[in-house]
């Protein structure tokens, strides 16, 4: 236990002294493993961790969706689409941020990875909001929080992994994610409205002109066509969700070439930008794998959850503890690492207490999704910062009010299971 806290302090110190988050987790994890298993086994972990983390076909969606976003952004497609939304609702306070949320929902229906979605919106919506004098703090928070919709609204990598780990119907999980996703989006819009009316972070845009709005709407067409093509490819049986990401890249390239809005230099910059973001994400995933490995060997999570399973507390208390533990894990770990570490004990516990597997899946997903927004490891904030170059501190401060909303949505889902289960039950009838 003493070693464990020492390692946590080392991690905190490294991060406080501006060692990149990935490197800090790698160093702390390796030191922990050395203390736990000995130096030789600790070094042996380094042999293949990075290869095993990166050699994964499922991960291919990350660079591809980022590249797609980069191309659409470099080729002016997303900006024009947001301009179109803006000419309809930009005149109201916070309208542009709400338009961004709407766009995030549509993107979430295409993308299963929340970092990819955040990267896309950060690259396209952020410059637009900045140009309209929205504060950096609000705009980066909106793209970070909007990005989390991608793992709740289907398709979703997190739901797939939960389904596989716990043998729960992936089809039902996907359907169950729809209403919680829309609920989150509405909550987001509400917080934006409140911020817009109480602060000067989200000024009014240009006045509403019907003719201009109608005319600008044509700019949405390419993006809608692309979405139809990608969704069509998945649902029409042409491509798997990962492969659809590659189709999306090709489609984006076609659009910007037809529009004549992409130079060779910009193409290079887009690919380079996608690599930059991917390298950063995979470094974090790889190093957090080392840290998770250390956590696994300490048996800390195992003991915590085992304690929960054997005590005579009420089922509500136990569920609350599970959620709390997941939230705390979310501060330090990648979503998929949390699932693989916690589900083997948390899932049987929840089932033994009589909770519904699909409902629990959505609640767990929502909980680990909040972890994407909390420091120190808040992947969405990192991606937004990488893309916009706004300091992390500013982004985390901006996220704070939205975090309150996320927790409220989570509580609503916890107390009213019908919200989640309504659609899947309708489907099986």
């Amino acid at each position: 236990m003493l070693t464990f806290f020492t390692i946590l302090i080392v991690l905190a110190l490294l991060m406080a002294f501006r060692v990149p988050i990935a490197f800090a987790m790698g160093i702390a994890g390796t030191l922990g493993l050395a203390a736990q298993l000995g130096v030789r086994p600790a070094l042996a972990v380094l042999e293949r961790t990075f290869f095993d983390t990166s050699a994964s076909f499922i991960l291919v969606a990350i660079p591809l969706f980022i590249l797609m976003a980069e191309l659409l952004t470099a080729g002016d497609v997303t900006r024009r689409a947001i301009v179109a939304c803006q000419s309809w609702i930009g005149h109201i306070k916070g309208g542009l941020a709400i338009a961004t949320v709407a766009a995030s929902v549509i993107l979430a229906a295409l993308v299963g990875s929340s970092t990819a979605s955040t990267a896309a919106m950060a690259a396209s919506a952020f410059p637009e909001m900045r140009a309209h004098k929205y504060s950096d703090r609000l705009s980066t928070a909106v793209v970070s929080v909007g990005g989390t919709l991608a793992v709740v609204v289907p398709p979703s990598i997190v739901l797939v992994v939960y389904g596989v780990l716990t043998e729960t119907s992936i089809g039902k999980l996907f359907i169950a994610g729809i209403i919680p996703g829309l609920l989150t989006a509405s909550g987001l819009a509400l917080v934006i409205k409140i911020i817009a009316h109480t602060t000067d972070q989200a000024p009014k845009g240009d006045p509403f002109v019907l003719k201009k709005a109608v005319k600008d709407s044509r700019h949405v067409i390419p993006m809608v066509l692309l979405m139809l093509a990608v969704i069509g490819a998945i649902y029409g049986g042409i491509a798997s969700p990962s492969e659809a990401a590659a189709l999306g890249v090709m489609g984006s390239l076609l659009i910007v070439l037809l529009q004549g809005t992409l130079s060779f230099v910009q193409f290079n910059k887009s690919v380079s930008g996608a690599i930059r973001a991917t390298v950063m994400i995979v470094a974090i995933v790889g190093c957090s794998a080392i840290f998770s490995n250390y956590l696994a060997f300490t048996r800390i999570t195992h003991r915590m959850l085992e304690f929960v399973a054997t005590t005579d507390m009420s089922r509500e208390t136990i569920m609350a503890i599970i959620i709390l533990v997941l939230l705390i894990m979310g501060m330090f770990m990648d979503q998929l690492a949390i699932l693989s570490l916690a589900m083997p004990l948390a899932f049987p516990t929840a089932m033994a207490l009589g909770y519904d597997a699909v409902w629990f899946g959505i609640v767990v997903t929502k909980t680990v999704e909040i972890g994407l927004l909390t420091p120190p490891l808040g992947l969405n904030a990192y991606v937004a910062s990488a893309q916009t170059r706004v300091p992390l501190g500013t982004i985390f401060r901006g996220i704070l009010p939205f975090l309150g909303m996320e927790v409220i949505v989570l509580l609503v889902l916890l107390f009213f299971p019908q919200i989640t289960l309504f659609l899947p039950e309708l489907m099986t009838r």
Partner: protein
């Protein structure tokens, strides 16, 4: 002594419930606590492909290996993946256990620095599809999800196209018609909910196998008393048979459930079986050639003999 035991399966999987976990408990009891385990399921300690290295490096002391993950250093052990041999988990497990006691499969594992304690197999892979696949003509140009090279060859030998798709994506790929068929072990079907998206499931085919081997680091195992070693192996033999029989029973139950749910669970006719098995001979021939090991043919012959009764 407390052994750190790595496992890529989750503790809710039948292989863990009836095999790994049962064996660990039996060992702890029989040795009166002299041997205890710290279990790391679900790839917590090491990824599937890294389990063997982890035991070698002292990260773990023991591990349940999925041999297909280690085909690079255990090529001869991949004989179990070949299609057209064992017909039930019990039959396949008996054959594997015999080959792990003595001969090239055992030697190959010992060479990597670990000692095999016991091994068992999954029930044979079956074909799940949206149409009934029987005679070779039915298989023509079908997009079939396969995993690994042997299965890709299997699909090709039958006239289909072998397609690699990550496990978690199989469900949506079948649902949306990206795949026409899937080669899958029936015990794992509920885990991926494939019964929700297919209409036909074969029950007496043999489209390849999958073996698990429990290993302990050799220097550690050799340091145990002869009595403890014997306990580990005796209980291993019992666990292997038990998990094989439990899987066969579970598959029968699953088939009955699917039948009741309106899925066509079908047996190949003798004529179909003969035609399919005929086509699959090419896969074994290719395997012998591909792994280029002087013992390959002998291993294949032994395996053939052990699974043909």
């Amino acid at each position: 002594e407390t052994l750190r035991l790595g496992d890529f399966q989750s503790i809710s999987h039948i292989v863990s419930v009836e095999g790994t976990t049962k064996w660990m408990a039996a060992v702890e009891e029989a040795t009166g606590g002299e041997i205890t385990f710290e279990h790391f399921p679900s790839q917590q300690a090491a990824k599937s492909k890294a389990q063997l290295d982890a035991v070698n490096n002292g990260i773990l002391d023991a591990a349940l290996l999925g041999t297909p993950y280690h085909a690079d250093v255990l090529p001869l052990n991949s004989v179990v993946a070949l299609p057209g041999f064992y017909g039930s988990a019990e039959q396949g497990t008996k054959a594997l256990q015999a080959m792990l006691k003595d001969g090239p499969l055992r030697e190959e594992i010992l060479e990597t620095g670990v000692t095999p304690i016991f091994g068992f197999v999954l029930p044979p892979y079956q074909v799940l599809a949206k149409a009934r696949l029987g005679m070779p003509a039915d298989w023509d140009a079908q997009d079939i999800r396969t995993s690994g090279s042997t299965q890709a060859m299997t699909a090709r030998a039958l006239g289909g196209v072998g397609i690699s798709i990550p496990g978690p994506e199989v469900y949506t790929a079948v649902e949306r018609g990206r795949l026409d068929a899937v080669l899958f072990p029936l015990a794992s079907v509920p885990g991926y909910k494939l019964n929700e998206v297919v209409s036909h499931i074969s029950t007496n085919g043999s489209f390849g196998g999958y073996s698990f081997v429990m290993v302990i680091r050799s220097d550690l195992f050799d340091g145990l008393s002869a009595e403890t070693q014997a306990d580990l192996i005796r209980l291993g033999d019992e666990s292997a048979m038990h998990v094989a029989q439990a899987q066969d029973a579970s598959v029968s139950t699953l088939i009955a459930e699917w039948k009741a749910a309106g899925i066509d669970t079908y047996m190949f006719s003798d004529e179909e079986l003969a035609a399919v098995t005929g086509s699959l001979g090419a896969v074994s021939a290719d395997w012998v050639e591909r792994i280029a090991n002087e013992k390959a043919q002998a291993v294949l012959d032994t395996y053939q003999t052990l699974t043909s009764n």
